[in-house]
C-alpha cells in the first residue's frame, strides 16, 4: 500500500510545475505564519510552542554540533541492523510459508498469535532477554519490520497467477527454476511494499525505544530536549526524525525501482 501511495503521489507531483506548485508553497508559508501568529497572540495551550525563528536558530546550531550528527549515526545504525535482520529472516520465512501449504499450517498460527502484540509492548521482555541495551533496541526494531515483511511476502507469493507457474513447467522448468525465476521475481513487488511499510513502522518503534530505554540517538535527544526544557530543540528533533525516516523510505523505494526495471514503465 505504501508503495502505491508513493508512486501515485510522485505522479501527482511530476505534472505539477505550474500554479499548483505556487499554491503548495503558499500553503506551507501560510502554515508557518499561522504558527508564528498562534504563539504570538498566546492562544491557550499553544502559547508555550517555540517561535519558528527559535526553531530555525536551534536547527542552525544543532547542524554545527558533533553530538547532533552523532545522534543521527546511532539511530541510523540501529535502524539498519534491526531492519536488515528482519528482511534476512522474514523474506525466506515468508517465501516458505507462501510456497508450502503444510509449513504454513504449522507456523502461521503462532505467527498470527504474536503479530497483533504492539512492538513497543516487547520492551520489558527485550530488556530482560538481551544482555545489552543496544541489542534490545535492535531486537525491537527487528520486531517492528519482521511481521510486516512476512505478511507481505506470503501475500506476494500467493498472488502469482497459476498460469505463470504452468507456463514455466510446460517449458520444461524444474522446481528450482520455478523458485528462482518465477516465485522470487514474482513476489518482488510485495517484498518492496513490505520493506517500505516496515521502514515507516521501524522508525516509530526506534523513537519510542530510544525515549524509553536508549542512550543517544535522535529519539533520546528529542526526549532530553524535553527534560532539559530546551523547547526549540524538541521541534528540531522531530523534524530531523521526519527527515531521517523520509530518507530511509526513499532509499528503500529507490532500491525497489532498481530491482524491478520492468515495473517502472507501467
Amino acid at each position: 500500500m505504501e508503495m502505491i501511495q508513493e508512486l501515485r503521489l510522485k505522479r501527482e507531483f511530476k505534472k505539477v510545475f505550474n500554479i499548483r506548485v505556487i499554491r503548495g508553497f503558499l500553503s506551507i508559508v501560510m502554515f508557518v505564519v499561522l504558527w508564528q501568529l498562534v504563539v504570538f497572540i498566546k492562544v491557550p495551550y499553544l502559547e508555550n510552542l517555540p517561535y519558528p525563528k527559535d526553531v530555525a536558530a536551534g536547527a542552525a546550531d544543532a547542524a554545527g554540533s558533533r553530538t547532533y550528527w552523532f545522534g543521527w549515526g546511532i539511530s541510523l545504525v540501529r535502524i539498519f541492523v534491526g531492519f536488515i535482520m528482519a528482511q534476512l529472516i522474514g523474506i525466506p520465512l515468508g517465501l516458505a510459508m507462501g510456497i508450502s501449504r503444510t509449513f504454513k499450517d504449522f507456523t502461521f498460527p503462532v505467527f498470527e498469535m504474536l503479530r497483533p502484540i504492539p512492538p513497543i509492548a516487547w520492551i520489558p521482555l527485550a530488556i530482560l532477554f538481551w544482555p545489552t541495551r543496544e541489542l534490545s533496541i535492535y531486537f525491537l526494531v527487528f520486531i517492528g519490520a519482521f511481521f510486516i515483511i512476512v505478511i507481505n511476502v506470503i501475500q506476494g507469493v500467493s498472488n502469482i497467477s497459476v498460469s505463470l507457474k504452468w507456463a514455466a513447467s510446460s517449458l520444461g522448468a524444474r522446481p528450482k527454476h520455478i523458485f528462482w525465476r518465477i516465485l522470487v521475481p514474482g513476489s518482488l513487488p510485495s517484498i518492496i511494499t513490505g520493506m517500505t511499510v516496515g521502514m515507516g513502522v521501524t522508525w516509530n518503534v526506534l523513537i519510542a525505544a530510544e525515549m524509553i530505554a536508549g542512550q543517544g540517538g535522535l529519539g533520546r535527544m528529542t526526549w532530553e530536549a524535553y527534560t532539559n526544557n530546551n523547547i526549540p530543540f524538541i521541534v528540531v528533533g522531530m523534524v530531523s526524525i521526519g527527515v531521517a525516516g523520509y530518507l530511509c523510505s526513499t532509499l528503500v523505494r529507490w532500491l525497489g525501482e532498481k530491482a524491478m526495471p520492468w515495473k517502472k514503465r507501467f
Binding site: S163, W166, A167, S169, S170, L171, G172, G186, W262
Partner: protein, 295 residues
Amino acid sequence: MSRNDGNGVLSKGDFGEVRLEDVTKVYEKADQSQRVLDECTFSVERGKLTVLMGPSGCGKTVLINLVAGYEKPTSGRIFIDGSPVDGPGSDRLVVFQETALFPWMTVYSNVTFGCQVQGVGRGETKERAEHILKKVGLYEFRDKYPSQLSGGMQRRAELARAMINDPKIMILDEPFRGLDAMTRQLMQEFYVGLFEEIGRTNLFVTHEIDEAIFLADRVVILTFQPGKVKAEIEIDLPRPREFHMLASPRFMEIREQVIDLLYEEASKAFAAGSKAAYDLMGAIVARKGACEKCE
C-alpha cells in the same frame, strides 16, 4: 525425442498426433461428484489444425489440461503418437488464456526461457531466438518488457516462446482473447500463415465462430456439461487461407451450420441455469417462447 540438427526445425513427419479414447473426467467435491467430460473420442491429426469449440462450461480447458498432462483423466486414455500421456512434457506446449509472459523478463529472456531451463547451449539458444523472433517480427523489441508491448505483440511473443522449443504439438487456449477485432483478425492471418508454412499439429480452442472456421482444417464441437463430442465439421476452404474468404458463400454456409449446433448447446446451458449461459438465451427464449431454431 528425435530432433534433426540444423536450427532444430522438425520436418513434417515428426509432428505429433493426439488420440482421445472415451476420455472422462469427474471432479469429486465433498459429497457430490461433477462429471465434466464424458467419453470424449476424437483425434488431432498430424500436421493439421484442429479447433475445439463449445459453450463455456463444456470442459474445453479441462480437456486441454488432460492433453497437456497437468491432470489425469478419470477413465479413458489419451495417446500422443501412440504412447499414453503421463504428465507434462516439452513435446506438447500450451499457450494459456491469461497472458503468461513473465512480466519481469525481457522479450528475449521470455522467449529463451525454455532453452535455458533445458540446458540448451548459449550459441544454439541465441540462434534459435533470432530465427523465431524475426519470424514473428519482434526482433527489434527483444530488450523490451511485456508491459511495453501492445496486446498483439504480447501474443506474438507468447507464440514465439512456445514455438522456439519446437514442440510436436501446439495447444492454444484462446490465444487472441482480449484483442480488438481488428488486431485479432490480423493475428489470425499471421498465425494461419505461420501454420501453413511449417504444418505443425495444432489444437486450438476458441469460442469465436469466424476465428474457428478461418483457421481450422477440422472443428470439433463439444456439448454442454458434461463435455461430449457433439459434431466434427471438416473445413474444406482452400489453403492458404485469405481474409476475403470471410465473405465467401461457403464460409457463411459453414458459419450457419456451426451457429445452429452452438445454439442448441447454449439453450441447454441456459436451461441448466449456469450464470455464464444466463444471458446467452435469457431474453430471447423468455420473450419468444421456444425459438424455432432449437427444435
